[in-house]
Structure formats: C-alpha cells, structure tokens
Amino acid sequence: MAENNCTFKTTPGHFAVSEDSIDVMALRAALGSDADGAVVTFEGIVRNHNEGKQVRSLFYEACSELAQGEAEAIFQEAEARFGLTRIVCVHRVGALQVGDTAVFVGVSTAHRGESFDGCRFIIDAIKHRLPIWKKEEYLDGSTSWVNCQCREDSP
C-alpha cells in the first residue's frame, strides 16, 4: 500500500497523495493572494462508466516518492510557462466510490487566461506522467487496471 503523504502546507507548488477524502474548501483557501485576480480549480470525479462499461468503484495506488518528484517537475514547468503564483494538487489513493473526488488541482495567477491554461496543463501532465494507477471494478464483478490491458486482466 502506498504511504500516506498528506501533510498539508500552504506554499506554492504543494503536492500530496492522500488516503483521506479531499477537503476541497480547505485546498481552495490555500490559493490566491492580493496580487492574484484569478483562481481556477479542477476536480476529477469518479464516474459510473468508462469505455462502455458500468463502473462500480475505483482503486487508486501511487508510488508517493516518485510521484512527489515528478509533480514538482511538472509544477516547475507550469510556473515557467504560465507564471502561476500558487499551485495546489492532491490525488487520492485507496478505494473510491462513484461521486468521490479523485484529484484536485488549483492554481492562481494575476489574470484568468494563465490560470485556465496552467490548470489544464497540470491536470493533463498529472494523468500522463505521475506514477499513479487505477483499477476499475465493474458492475458485473470483473476488474481491470486501466491502460494495462493484457492476457491475464480478467478475473
């Protein structure tokens, strides 16, 4: 099981993996400053279907140490490209149900364009680069590690 690493700091570029449900309002409160005119936040929510199959629940697993290093690299790229003044991102691990927040990304900047673009850049990079894995459990009882299709994938 992944180590819990959810000590929360309100500093720019904060990333955490959390076994506990994500407190969206607390994370939102860490964004923005007197110099920021824009805050954009994104929540990834567990939905009840994927690629034509009915999803009952999800299980997320992470390698926290590697994820931390990769998230910091992503944040540095985002800061350089979009001039973000604050970034907060938390990803859940463990068993999640439909409707749960799986990931939160929030950024703030002086103007809205950079916040929208920077938030989009970060969530896309997180999905493609962080060592985090997702196992779907379907209504018919079968399970599958997403993106790991292989011979022995079905139970």
Binding site: M1, G44, Y60, E61, A62, C63, E65, L66, G69, H91, A102, V103, I123, I126, K127, H128, R129, L130, P131, I132, W133, K134, K135, W145, V146, N147, C148, C150, R151, E152, D153
Partner: protein, 86 residues
C-alpha cells in the same frame, strides 16, 4: 580483476498489476550484476509478467533511468507499469 561475476543486492517495489502478478509489494534479491533491462527480463520469466518491457518505465533510487543503467549494490528499484492517474 576477478573473472567471477560480482553479485549485488537490490530492493524492488512492485505496484498495481506488477504487485498482483508477483504477489508482493516489495522484495530484496541478490543477483549477478547487470542492467535494469536484465533484471526486468529475469523477473518477467520468474513471475510470468504479462507487461512487455516496452510498456514499463523504471526508476532507481527515486529517479527514472534508462534500461541500460547498470545496477549498483543497494539500489532501490521501482518498475512503473502504464499510469492512469486523474
């Protein structure tokens, strides 16, 4: 120089599909010195892993590394199956 091949001890952490196929989250192995690719091929055979090496990335001591990286004694290795965060 010794003609004998040197042995090293490494720790490997398994996640997601690899954890399920090996049946363990972590193990320490003593083996002949070689590259990351040599180690993955060895494990693939031993555990009948379904993911080809092309689908995997590897990290040593918390840094992503190329498959040709020579492993040192005490290395901590993570094999990263295809990711799916978000």
């Amino acid at each position: 120089m010794s003609a004998q091949s040197k042995t090293i001890t490494v720790t490997i952490r398994y996640f997601a599909l690899l954890r399920e196929e090996t049946g363990k989250a972590c193990e320490t192995l003593t083996l002949e010195q070689g590259t990351l690719a040599d180690l993955y091929k060895h494990l693939q055979e031993r555990y009948k892993l379904s993911l080809p090496i092309e689908a995997i990335r590897a990290a040593v001591n918390n840094r992503f590394c190329s498959w040709q990286t020579d492993l040192g004694d005490g290395a901590e290795i993570v094999f990263v199956p295809p990711v799916a965060g978000g």
